[in-house]
């Protein structure tokens, strides 16, 4: 039993994670969730067949008939098929939203509006388990995250904004507020339900009506939300959910009767939208990409910092716009931190998203996996040293081992471009000024992290970092009451908190 203790040189000492005591599979039961074979469009409180004919995206045979498949990225099996809204369908949805706005929602007393939003929050809580399962099936994220983060945070977001509906006069000193009208909202595939909540809750609480398009690869929880909305007796047309790909989104952006575009997604598409709405009176909120710097000083609480780095880049397979994808470690502790990171990623469990013990699930789509692989190749070619955990990957589906690159240079593409995967670029620095300069040396400015035990340094760093959210001695924290959004090319407008109201209101004297 006693082990001979070898007095090895410290750099060869390694923890052993090949363990005889492993966790048996603990899959969440799929039977707790109902997924229809086919989903139509949710327009004016009803399920409406797509007008069909030509799919919105031309020259794509798999899309004829007005429906497209949504698959489970963990095994590539079809989960359901979903209607593809074309220009006419989007027009129908916008008309429904306009009518609901003018005839019902705008006129409704704010406190009544609030109660509908509260009700939706409660119903999400009631169906939390089902929503979590579907979220993990459709998007590939670990059930632990969809269960403990996505779904409860989505419910809380509705609850938070519900309470604002009849208190807007307190939010903006010396101004009255007016709702905008119809909001067109386009959301990404990384937090499908949560992003729907971030968009819909403030919009309808402030008195607007909504046409929302979920991402092409992850439409199911938004459609489940449509069912909840139907069940909640929200007046028809206040929330309309239309599924489809980029062309459907374009139809929303270009629709002349939309007053507001709220978009979360890539910076490239955000720029396209900004150009597309030029010359119109549409307001816009853009929540776009990021390449967050996460900075560890030598006096940091190292083990918590390491955990923060892990959470910062491997949360949701790294499909997070505010992911801490650039790690700056002070040189004096770089070796130690890298060693700890390498040991830590060995204990991350990669696999079945529905298994309660899974830390890292499936990459959301084949296309995204290819993007990630492209960057792994680029990183190696650029001369950075790649290290991946030794875990085995399932045979089918889209998977990527947690990866870190050391010896990364500021000029490397893996240190500059958003990869949107479980890939960490590690750089070193010596002084405060140097790291501030490097951290801000990016077109993005969504989030940043700093780890140090010294209070005055924290305030210096958090003040000087050009980013909308700064996490000090923590990372990737979200709350409905906390505004989120970027500087620079990470977009504009805020979501969450008091500051998340303004994007859906006009201020009048």
């Amino acid at each position: 039993m006693a082990k001979t203790i070898s007095k090895k040189k410290s750099n060869t000492i390694k923890l052993n994670f090949d363990t005889s005591w492993s966790y048996a599979p603990a899959p969440e039961s799929k039977s707790a969730a109902t997924i229809n074979k086919q989903y139509d469009l949710f327009i004016n409180g009803e399920w409406v067949k797509p007008s069909g004919g030509k799919p919105a995206r031309l020259n794509d045979d798999s899309r004829s008939g007005g429906y497209f498949d949504t698959i489970n990225p963990a095994n590539e099996e079809k989960l359901s098929e979903v209607a593809e809204a074309n220009v006419a369908d989007v027009d129908k949805a916008v008309k429904a939203a306009r009518t609901a706005y003018e005839k019902v929602w705008k006129k409704m007393p704010a406190k009544e509006r609030a109660k509908y939003v509260f009700r939706i929050s409660r119903m999400i809580q009631e169906k939390a388990r089902e929503l979590a399962i579907i979220e993990s099936l459709d998007g590939g994220k670990p059930i632990r995250e969809s269960r403990d983060f996505d779904v409860p945070t989505a419910a809380n977001h509705f609850f938070y904004y519900a309470g604002w509906a009849d208190k807007l006069e307190y939010a903006f000193p010396n101004r009255k507020t007016e709702s905008l009208g119809v909001a067109g909202q386009i959301i990404p595939w990384n937090f499908p339900l949560l992003m729907a909540a971030w968009k819909i809750a403030p919009a309808i609480a402030t008195g607007n009506t909504v046409v929302l398009k979920p991402a092409e690869t992850t439409p199911l929880t938004a459609l489940k939300l449509a069912e909840i909305i139907q069940e909640s007796d929200l007046p028809p047309g206040v929330v309309n959910i239309v599924t489809g790909a980029g062309a459907t989104g374009a139809a929303i952006v270009n629709h002349p009767d939309i007053n507001k575009i709220a978009f979360t997604g890539s910076t490239d598409v955000g720029k396209i939208i900004q150009r597309a709405i030029a010359g119109t009176n549409k307001k816009a909120t853009l929540e776009l990409g990021g390449k967050a710097a996460n900075i560890i000083f030598e006096d940091a609480p190292i083990d918590q910092a390491v955990e923060g780095v892990i959470n910062g880049i491997y949360f949701n397979q790294g499909h997070v716009c505010c992911a801490g994808s650039r790690l700056y470690v002070q040189e004096s502790i770089a070796k130690q931190v890298i060693k700890k990171l390498r040991d830590r990623i060995e204990s991350l469990i990669v696999g079945d998203p529905l298994d309660k013990n899974t830390d890292i699930g499936a990459i959301n789509s084949r296309q995204q996996l290819e993007t990630i692989h492209k960057y792994l190749d680029i990183g190696k070619k650029e001369g950075a040293e790649m290290y991946q955990s030794s875990c085995s990957l399932p045979g089918r589906g889209f998977w990527c081992r947690p990866t870190l690159f050391t010896n990364v240079a500021q000029s490397n593409r893996i240190a500059q471009e958003e990869i949107f995967g479980p890939v960490l670029a590690i750089l070193t620095f010596r002084t405060d000024d140097e790291v501030i300069e490097k951290a801000n040396n990016s077109p993005y400015g969504l989030s940043a992290g700093v780890w140090t035990d010294k209070g005055s340094k924290i305030f210096n760093m958090t003040r000087r970092m050009r980013a909308g959210v700064v996490w000090a001695n923590t990372f990737n924290k979200f709350d409905p009451s906390s505004p989120f959004g970027g500087y620079k090319e990470s977009g504009f407008g805020r979501e969450g908190g008091l500051h998340g109201l303004l994007p859906y209101l006009n201020l009048v004297n």
Partner: protein, 316 residues
């Protein structure tokens, strides 16, 4: 004042040996230069234009700024950004107040320039007074808007979380054409009160006050580069103002919808924040509010854990 100087005749010593000169002294004309980085250069392009008043009188030879002048101004503005935003808000307030003092002291000159540019005396006086008051108004906001528009957010986890406005950075501004002094002051003041630096293109048709205002700025403790003022043609410069990658926000004050469309398209290049102040009546109270400051602010939210030794039984 200049007028008295102009009209005064030069009488020479009484020894009678010298001939009496002409009673009319030659007027010293003012050279209207642009204002970049706290200096008054001529446009590097060497070009000029001659704005005229309603009766066709040429007002001056005014610099026709080029895109290179704009580029230099952006460099100056960027260079001044961290120093200006890093100043104590109280200090920024004092400097804005000082600007008002300086403007007050040169009131007559501004009134005269406004009259030259077709204003009546009464209107001109009113405009200058409003411009002074506007600076005072924003001087007072410098250390207050943060308190109104910040928030401590009650997050559910054991974290302290607060959101504060921060300047967005470098702002390019196409100033209003009509209210050539009041409009200029009204767009500059909220931008710099909020800690931004800016490059302003003055009214093309009525540029005189802008250059004189630059002299006010230069004598009022405002660090060089915080406000840079160019004269010239919006038709030449607007697109440069909105597509420079080192500019964070652009303000446009005219209602030309083609220009607005072009600007919003170009703003997508680096996702500039873009604002059209084309409906604002600058000569009313509507022309001033902390919401103008907030337009060129970013909201930054900071999180930090709160240690809570639960086992000690501490708490209320």
């Amino acid at each position: 004042m200049e007028k008295t100087i102009k009209k005064s005749s030069l009488t020479i010593s009484e020894n009678g040996l010298e001939k009496k000169t002409s009673s009319k002294r030659l007027e010293v004309l003012k050279t209207y230069k642009i204002y970049i980085g706290g200096q008054f250069p001529r446009t590097e392009s060497g070009r000029y234009y001659q704005p005229t008043n309603a009766s066709g009188k040429k007002l001056a030879n005014v610099c026709l700024s080029s895109r290179k002048d704009f580029r230099d101004a952006v460099v100056a503005a960027r260079g001044a950004a961290s120093g200006w935003s890093g100043r104590a808000a109280f200090n920024r307030g004092q400097i804005l107040y000082r600007m008002a003092e300086m403007l007050e002291g040169r009131k007559a000159q501004f009134i005269e320039e406004l009259i030259q540019q077709d204003s009546t005396k009464a209107k001109a006086e009113k405009e200058v007074n409003l411009a002074i008051d506007r600076l005072i108004y924003y001087a007072g906001w410098c250390d207050k808007y943060q308190q109104i528009y910040s928030a401590v957010n009650p997050v559910a986890t054991s974290h302290f979380n607060f959101s504060v406005p921060e300047p967005t950075g470098v702002v390019s501004i196409i100033a209003p054409q009509a209210d050539s002094l009041l409009g200029l002051v009204s767009v500059i003041a909220p931008v710099i009160a909020g800690g931004n630096t800016c490059i302003v293109l003055a009214s093309e048709t009525k540029p005189l006050c802008s250059v004189t205002f630059a002299e006010v700025l230069n004598s009022s403790d405002l660090p060089g580069g915080v406000v840079n003022i160019l004269t010239g043609k919006p038709s030449e410069l607007t697109s440069w103002f909105v597509d420079h990658m080192d500019v964070n926000a652009t303000i446009y004050c005219e209602s030309n919808s083609d220009v607005q469309k072009m600007m919003r398209e170009k703003s997508a290049l680096n996702l500039k924040r873009i604002f059209f102040y084309d409906k604002v009546k600058w000569n009313t109270d509507e022309g001033q509010s902390p919401y103008f400051i907030m337009d060129t602010q970013e909201i930054k939210t900071t999180w930090h854990p709160i240690e809570n030794i639960a086992g000690s039984g501490a708490g209320y």
